[in-house]
């Protein structure tokens, strides 16, 4: 399996003042999708509420992927979750950023020998910022957001362009794990206790 494009990620920089202004607006208001993918989601509510207030930086929660800028992949991704994350990521509108929390996205973490989780998130989704820890504390997550804001302001956070350009690479890795049909089946009936699936 080929490996990712970490070295090539920071290739686009702001060139003129219009780009600078656009990036300035984008970095001052960030909408984070309210989706807790793994056990790192336990550290997201303290970050966004009263004690470690993330709203000072302009960061707000958003309920649908159509309105979100950032998706936080917080922790391990089993195959089932990865399918839904990919579909949610593709529903968001450009420009969009991925923040990966925890050591499970870096090298497998605590579940390094599990048969059902992925070890390296970069092969399946392009990542802008890693925050390590297990789980990272709210101070670490805020530091990650500030660094992400600096990268957006300089024009370096361009993973969404990489996803479009190298879509075949990502799709090949996704299909190797998830089978030919990557999208989940949406025939669940909400009134049955397990969706009828």
């Amino acid at each position: 399996m080929e490996t990712g494009f970490l070295k090539e990620q920071k290739i686009l920089e702001s060139e003129n003042s219009v780009d600078f202004l656009m990036n300035w607006f984008r970095k001052r208001s960030i909408f984070v999708l309210a989706y807790g993918t793994g056990c790192g989601a336990i550290e997201m509510p303290p970050t966004f509420t009263s004690r470690y207030d993330a709203e000072r930086l302009g960061i707000r929660g958003s309920a649908t992927p159509r309105q979100a800028d950032v998706i936080i992949v917080s922790g391990y991704c089993s195959y089932k979750t990865l399918r839904r994350i990919i579909r949610t990521y593709e529903q968001m509108s450009n420009p969009k950023y991925v923040l990966a929390l925890g050591s499970c996205t870096i090298n497998g973490g605590m579940y390094w020998d599990s048969y059902n989780t992925i070890k390296k998130l970069e092969d399946y989704l392009p990542v802008d910022m890693y925050v390590n820890g297990c789980m990272p504390r709210p101070e670490s997550i805020l530091e990650g957001f500030i660094q992400l804001q600096k990268d957006i302001g300089d024009g370096k956070a361009s993973s969404w362009e990489l996803y479009e350009k190298n879509y075949d690479f990502y799709r090949k890795n996704q299909e190797a794990i998830l089978g030919k049909v990557v999208e989940p089946s949406y025939e669940a009936d909400w009134y049955l206790y397990d969706g009828g699936l």
């Binding site: 399996m1 089932k80 090298n107 020998d113 599990s114 048969y115 092969d123 998830l178």
Partner: protein, 188 residues
């Protein structure tokens, strides 16, 4: 109670494991009669769990039904053994409704076929085509090394002192090479 069980169902002795836990082992054909017997006569009327243990050396699965009496706060474990290669046993869903999900979990993780349970779909895995993962012949580390890759440059079991010495020597060699190149450029 112990004598009536031992005489009627030809089991081993009923073990008293704790002051709120009994355990008995019985043949596969008489399991459901025994469950009915202790349920009707001795009030063990709640099915708590169905679990399975893989005895790969003795080549059988051992299925345990845990029945609880909520009034007396007492649990009774009923164990049977089934074959390991073509594992099937009759299902308990007509007596206990919660057995449906418990048997679904076991069918997915061990590959046991429960006859009579018509909802044996996948519960936690999705589109799993390899061997059932909780069997002991499934080697998870080999599976992981075959299908997934780790990030390079982060090896385990590296002696930190030796590694630090190596990095320092590398840096020193690099600095000396730069100094030499500068002297040559100045000398020219």
């Amino acid at each position: 109670m112990f004598d009536s069980i031992k005489n009627n169902f030809a089991t081993f002795d009923v073990e008293v494991k704790r002051d709120d836990l009994y355990k008995v082992e019985v043949n596969k054909d008489r399991v459901f009669e025994l469950i009915d017997f202790i349920g009707n006569n001795y009030e063990y009327q709640t099915l708590n769990a169905i679990t399975c243990t893989d005895w790969i050396e003795d080549e059988h699965f051992s299925i345990t039904y845990m029945l609880t009496s909520l009034d007396r706060k007492h649990t009774f474990m009923v164990q049977t053994t089934i074959n390991r290669n073509k594992a099937k046993i009759k299902s308990l869903t007509d007596r206990f409704a919660q057995a449906e999900i418990m048997e679904r979990d076991l069918a997915e993780m061990y590959g046991i076929d429960f006859i009579g349970n018509n909802n044996l779909k996948e519960l936690s895995l999705e589109n799993w085509i390899h061997t059932p993962p909780l069997r002991r012949e499934f080697d998870t580390l080999e599976f992981v090394n075959e299908h997934l890759t780790f990030r390079e440059g982060r090896d385990d079991n590296v002696d930190t002192k030796a590694e630090a010495k190596r990095l320092r020597a590398l840096k020193k060699a690099q600095k000396e090479a730069e100094k030499k190149a500068k002297e040559e450029a100045n000398g020219k």
